[in-house]
Structure formats: structure tokens, C-alpha cells
Subunit: 136 residues, 2 copies
Amino acid sequence: MADVKRMEIQYLGDQRYVGRNEAGDQILIDGSEDTTVGVRPMEALLAALGTCTAFDVVSILAKRRTPVASYRIELEGERADEHPRRYTKVRVRHVVSGEGITQESLERAVNLSHEKYCSVAATLDSDIESEAVLDR
Amino acid sequence: MADVKRMEIQYLGDQRYVGRNEAGDQILIDGSEDTTVGVRPMEALLAALGTCTAFDVVSILAKRRTPVASYRIELEGERADEHPRRYTKVRVRHVVSGEGITQESLERAVNLSHEKYCSVAATLDSDIESEAVLDR
């Protein structure tokens, strides 16, 4: 049987939404014009991609016994001019520090994630460009 | 110049992440094994899709002077068995109530979103199946 993920989203009014997974964990997404209390849908998509690939990189480096000490992921998504204004290109910049991590091992982890493991990257129909930055 | 969206994500340890958009709005994504305080990346992806298309449906129905009174979006993503376990198929069920909304006008709004406006749907390389349910 196929593995299925489920989410249920409730509309809160004024283009604000709360989503819940099967365990009851929540996510707030907000497209209201004036005040926002959460990120917008296309920003949540970038966050899903960034955290999915970071998840792999953290795991891969931990298995090599060079755990991550700090990690920042910077994402930029370029949108098409015409509706539906999809992301044509997404840049993912991994800024990582940790004892024993080398530029080469970081790049290998980042590439392995994008090519083999990251489920979000594999679900996107965008050109994804990664950069690995070792932060000393 | 292309329209660019930016997100910056900080690793909090134990596979927990906080993302911030340019306005400083936050999103919490959590892949820790034992306790979770936020949804996982592949769940955040479903939430991005559900809220993106709901955003359109709410706008379209408001413009027709039949505003939404209640709205629930149920999403199911089927994953491939093999790594990277992408979503092959996503089902989106729109459950909507509101005075003057008809099954036909709701279906039209849902289809218009998926075919023309929803940026997240257009960015995904998944088969997306929509269902419109008028909740009286």
C-alpha cells in the first residue's frame, strides 16, 4: 500500500489558515493583505524545500561523526511573470559549521540530498541550484 | 526583473527549524523523531498547496458576491515507494459553505485555481486531483 500523508486545513477568515497533520501538529499560513501572522503559501513551499534538504544534510553529516553545530539555509525562488507564476528557479544556499566538516563533505551531503533523498525537491518542477558554504 | 521570494531558515537542533520571510513572519517545521512541535517538510508542502488554492477560491467567490462562510481543505499526498519518495499524486478536497454558493460555482472556482492561478500547484510535478464539496 502506498504511503500517504494527510493534512487538514481550516480557514480562519481574512485569508488566514491553520493546517494540522494527523498527530495534531500545526502550521499557520497567512495571505492577508494588511497584517500577517504567518508566511504565505509560496514562502511555505520554500521552507518545505529548505528544511527537507537540511534534514538530509544533518543526518548525513551526523552519520559521518561530524555533526552540524550551526546551520542556516537561505532560499530564493524566482517566479514566472505570467500566471500561475510558478517558481522557475530556486536557489538553496547551505551555510554550515561543525567540527570536522570539510567543504568537500558538505558538498557531498548537499548533492546526495538533492539527487537522491529530498522528497520535496523531487516533487518540484523547478530548476534547483544548490550552494554549500562552510562557515568557520 | 523577475519577482523573487526569499526565506531564511535557522536550524534549532534535533531536526527542528524556524523559517522567516522578509517581513519576519515565521514558520516552524519539525522533523524530530520523538516529540514534534511543528509539521514535517512534506506536510508543509501539502499545506502550501491547500492554502494557495484556497486563497484563489476565497477570492473568486468573494468577487462573485458569494463569500465563503466556512472552508476546510483536506489533502492526501501519495508517495512513491522508492527514494526520493516524491508525491506522485495529491488529492485536494474543498469543503465549502456560504450563502449563494452553488456546486457549479464552487467547481468553477476550484478548477480556475488549479488550471490558471495557483502558483504552488503549477510548481509541483505531481498529478493533482480536486474535489469540490458544497457543505450546506
